[in-house]
């Protein structure tokens, strides 16, 4: 396989390079049309270019007949150029990823800057101006929000909230420390005449320092993610990068304001601090507000599924814009909005919408980021630079120094308050992972033209960004692997782990209570209660709680089932178990056997029709399904155990009676609304559909149990109006041929970032639930009877069953 792939790569690579150059050339050719006004804002279409563009319209003037070919470049200019740039940047991305090794060793941002430099050089040589992508408006209104939304949406909430204090500590205090430290040191340097930068006063230095203290660890995060560093470190650097955007912007505006003022009084400093709080807390509040409104809106969108994702995007963007309106931290607003709304929206919204939202968020963010780094390269060549060795080198030096010192000091202060302390290695990783990136770049470009030594600042920023991204970005991977930072294993997708970690959490909760301490589990518990009692009721359309253990279990069973279908002899592998079981059953008659074989096919068809959608989703997932051998093994063991149980429980009564009972029970459900009753019935019909396929009315129920791997699954909820046919379930004859009607999708377990596609879409049980489980172990004997009644729909939510249960939670 190796040499073959390599060959493919080689030709692919050369083809890609060719395409890239072609694109470049075409791009620059297009741009060679005289462009009198560089559009500041892509949204303004420039219709007044006709006079100047006339020369380009060649054949028209000479002929008097109807022209065959005309060119209307000016009409499409702006969107066309935008598309070309985006395509160019994306081709570059394709190009890098051909060679896996390249992206492992060199971070993508670095490569993009490189390509940008090349394109910039080309453009510079033909004396073209790049589009003003990085002007203040375009960057802050169009390019930044998607990136921040992506970070906020995919933030791993559990680790975040466990470490929120540390994260905010580093983000706020760390950034302050950095900017003030760097600013003061640079000011000290400026005092020396020999460097020739005496004219930069304190405010300007502070301003510059605040610009370059913005950490943007994108490249570092990719490396950390790949390597799998421990959770604390990852979330600290992730959160820091995210929240210090807010701090930096505040500092920037504060210092910018101060530079204009001749004299800075202490009252201004005080106001600055107060303003910081206003900005931060205001942003958070706005985020909450919009998040809740979005979640609430999503409750009612079940009839308009096609535009569901739109609400999410519009509300997040709106939160950003409104925060900008009030000049409070829009970054905080959009992050908080995303975090708040994600949890509720993903429960209310359909499976497809959920996938769409995630996918689009990722896509927009990737485009934005790609374009930013790309233009970083382009603009480097095409702007005017002012190079001052001393200033720039010292800036680099101080940036390193203050970051390192900062992390060290801050960690010393915060470690005693942490359960898991950050070791020296973690600290080193944090310090070294402090790359600079997009925000820094954009901020420096928004410096007003009148600023003293603006070009020097621009040059210095670019130099620092390129240096950190290139040098630190490339070297961080070997360093992280070398100094053996404590790692975590993200692939913990087993039921065992879920159960045992939950147990441990409960234990810790109890012990904390015993010791009279209020750890964060206490708050977590309180929040959970509040959530269940108040928030979920208001914001969720379908408020049925599900344990994370159960949803993980369902997800895993689903994966097993998919793998079963995925094997080349997919249909057949399930069949032998069925057929062999039939062989074991002496009472199985011939005709039943034939019937069953045909039914298996039908059943597989239906399942694959529904499961096919799932497969598409899982292919988009970043994380792979668990290793084949393991799941196969589990599958085989389950087959065996089911076979054993079937032998034991071979002479069972018909489901008919219990079905009738359960049906009666559903209709009598006290206090339940009609909707949930219908929902339950819908699901029960899906069961009946499958049951019918597997067994005729008279055959022993045991046979239906054989399709065990596909057991515990509910079908997806599709937005079509579900036909509700209550009744008709009793007895086999009336089992309808309705398509399996879906159940509401459930939120899967808490690992937010891993569960892109692993939502609980489940297929319906293969009707095996009427049976008793494997020979009773006698642990809750009193529940045997009720269990038989509800046995058909074990996955159905609850409220129907509560009155029957005599158990305490």
């Amino acid at each position: 396989m190796e040499p073959f792939v390599f060959l493919g790569n080689k030709s692919g690579a050369s083809w890609m390079t060719f395409a890239l150059i072609l694109c470049c050339a075409v791009g620059t050719c297009e741009l060679q049309e005289p462009k009198p006004t560089v559009p500041n804002d892509f949204q303004t279409v420039s219709p007044t270019q006709d006079d100047i563009n006339k020369p380009q319209v060649f054949p028209e003037k000479e002929k008097t007949n109807l022209p065959m070919f005309t060119l209307h470049y000016s009409r499409i200019q702006v969107p066309f150029e935008f598309t070309m740039w985006v395509l160019l940047a994306s081709f570059a991305k394709i190009g890098f990823n051909i060679y896996q090794k390249v992206t492992i060793w060199i971070p993508e941002s670095c490569l993009l800057i490189g390509i940008g430099l090349i394109v910039g050089a080309i453009m510079h040589s033909v004396k073209e101006e790049p589009p003003a992508v990085l002007s203040s408006n375009v960057f802050f209104l169009y390019m930044l929000p998607p990136i921040v939304l992506d970070s906020g949406y995919f933030m791993p909430t559990r680790p975040f909230f466990e470490n929120v204090g540390t994260v905010l500590w580093y983000a706020v205090v760390g950034t302050l420390w950095n900017s003030i430290g760097i600013g003061l040191s640079l000011f000290a340097i400026c005092q020396f005449e020999v460097f020739g930068v005496q004219d930069i006063n304190l405010q300007e230095n502070l301003l510059f320092a605040s610009i370059i203290s913005a950490v943007d660890p994108v490249a570092a995060l990719n490396v950390f993610d790949d390597v799998g560093v421990n959770e604390q470190m990852y979330i600290v650097i992730f959160g820091e990068g995210l929240f210090n955007d807010a701090v930096t912007v505040v500092l920037y505006s504060m210092f910018a304001f101060m530079t204009d003022m001749p004299v800075v009084e202490s009252i201004d400093v005080f106001l600055g601090v107060a303003r910081f709080f206003v900005v931060g807390i205001g942003g958070t509040l706005f985020g909450f507000l919009f998040g809740f409104v979005a979640a609430f809106t999503s409750r009612f969108t079940n009839k308009v599924r096609e535009i569901e994702p739109l609400f999410i995007f519009m509300f997040s963007y709106l939160s950003y814009l409104v925060a900008e309106l009030f000049a409070i931290s829009s970054v905080m607003a959009i992050i908080v909005c995303a975090i708040t709304m994600k949890y509720y929206v993903e429960e209310n919204v359909s499976q497809r919408s959920c996938t769409t939202i995630r996918h689009v968020v990722k896509m927009l963010a990737t485009i934005s980021e790609t374009l930013i780094f790309f233009f970083l390269g382009v603009v480097t060549i095409t702007t005017e630079h002012e190079w001052n060795w001393a200033y720039i080198l010292f800036t680099l030096l101080f940036a390193f120094m203050w970051r390192g010192l900062g992390i060290l000091v801050l960690t010393q202060i915060v470690n005693p308050f942490r359960t898991i302390q950050l070791s020296l290695r973690d600290q080193f990783g944090l310090a070294y992972g402090g790359l600079r990136g997009a925000i820094c770049f954009a901020l420096v470009f928004t410096l007003p033209e009148s600023t003293n030594r603006r070009n020097l600042f621009v040059t210095a920023s670019i130099a620092i960004i390129i240096f950190t991204v290139a040098v630190q970005g490339i070297s961080i991977r070997p360093i992280v692997e070398c100094i053996k930072i404590r790692r975590t294993n993200k692939d913990l997708n087993t039921i065992n782990v879920e159960i045992h970690t939950r147990t441990m959490e409960h234990v810790i909760c109890g012990i904390e209570d015993l010791c009279g301490q209020w750890g964060h589990y206490y708050w977590k518990d309180k929040f959970k209660k509040f959530n269940d009692r108040v928030l979920r009721r208001i914001l969720l359309r379908d408020n049925r709680a599900e344990s994370s253990i159960v949803s993980l279990y369902k997800r895993l069973e689903l994966q097993n089932a998919i793998e079963l279908l995925d094997t080349p002899m997919g249909d057949i592998s399930a069949a032998p178990s069925l057929v062999s079981l039939q062989d074991e059953k002496k009472e199985a008659s011939r005709p039943k056997k034939k019937f069953l074989a045909a039914d298996i096919k039908k059943m597989h068809n239906i399942l694959s029709k529904n499961m096919y959608k799932i497969r598409h989703r899982t292919m988009v997932s970043k994380y792979n399904l668990p290793e084949d051998s393991r799941t196969r093994e589990i599958l085989i063991r389950r087959h065996a155990s089911i076979r054993r149980s079937l032998r034991a429980g071979s002479f069972r009564e018909q489901p008919a009676q219990s079905i009738a009972k359960s049906q009666k029970y559903y209709s009598l459900q006290p206090g339940g609304n009609l909707d949930s009753a219908f929902a339950l019935r819908r699901q029960s019909h899906a069961v009946s559909e499958l049951e019918h396929l597997q067994s005729s009315g008279a055959s022993p129920r045991s046979s239906s149990r054989s399709l065990v791997p596909l057991k515990r699954l509910n079908t997806i909820e599709e937005p079509t109006a579900a036909s509700e046919h209550p009744g008709g379930r009793a007895g086999s004859g009336s089992r309808g041929r309705k398509p399996p009607v879906p159940a509401p999708r459930r939120r899967s377990s808490r690992r937010a970032e891993e569960e892109e596609e692993n939502n609980v879409v489940s297929e319906h049980p293969a009707g095996g639930e009427e049976q008793d489980p494997p020979p009773p172990q006698g642990w809750v004997p009193e529940n045997r009877d009720p269990r038989e009644n509800e046995a058909e729909d074990p996955l159905l939510r609850p409220s129907s069953r509560r009155p029957q249960r005599s158990q305490t939670p």
Partner: protein, 168 residues
């Protein structure tokens, strides 16, 4: 309460507890006052189970955070109570009620039932328990032994999950 507490707890006892559990002096005194405030009956034990203060401290010692620098000092002769293995053993014993060093399906079901709540049928809970055992069971006895338990959790950050920060 504080002064009374410390008089009830003798210095030698504090030293012994310190050696056994690794808590610091102030932590022990603080926990003792907590113990006495929990101990309503004032008979030196908690509840009917007769957990005296030593037992209380021993249990709590499991939850001390694991310290990196413990390797530097002379390694204690016996494993400290808050080592990873002991933490796992503590968790294991939560399941294993009959102390036969195995988690059977029933025991697992009991814990699951308590954790998952009332919304799930026994059927489904049974299958979850089945799957749990199948994932972990290596020797096919349909029970989870302590070794299997440790193996399943080998990649989990138990030191973090089973630790709380004791205040001084």
């Amino acid at each position: 309460m504080g002064s009374r507490a410390s008089t009830l707890l003798r210095e030698e006892e504090i030293e012994e507890i310190k050696k056994e559990t690794g808590f610091s002096h102030s932590q022990i005194t603080r926990l003792y006052s907590r113990f006495t405030s929990l101990d309503k009956g004032e008979n030196g034990t908690l509840r009917e189970d007769q957990v005296n203060f030593r037992g209380f401290m021993r249990t709590l010692a499991h939850f001390r955070p694991v310290e990196d620098n413990e390797k530097n000092k002379n390694p204690p002769t016996t494993e400290p109570l808050n080592s990873r293995t002991n933490k796992l053993l503590f968790a294991f014993r939560l399941y294993d009620l009959d102390r036969d060093d195995k988690i059977s399906r029933d025991e697992l079901l009991q814990v699951l039932r308590m954790m998952v709540g009332v919304n799930i049928s026994d059927e489904q809970l049974g299958s979850i328990a089945d799957r749990t055992i199948q994932e972990a069971d290596q020797n096919g006895d349909n029970c989870i032994s302590f070794q299997e338990f440790m193996k399943v959790l080998e990649k989990v950050d138990v030191e973090q999950k089973m630790s709380i920060r004791f205040l001084h």
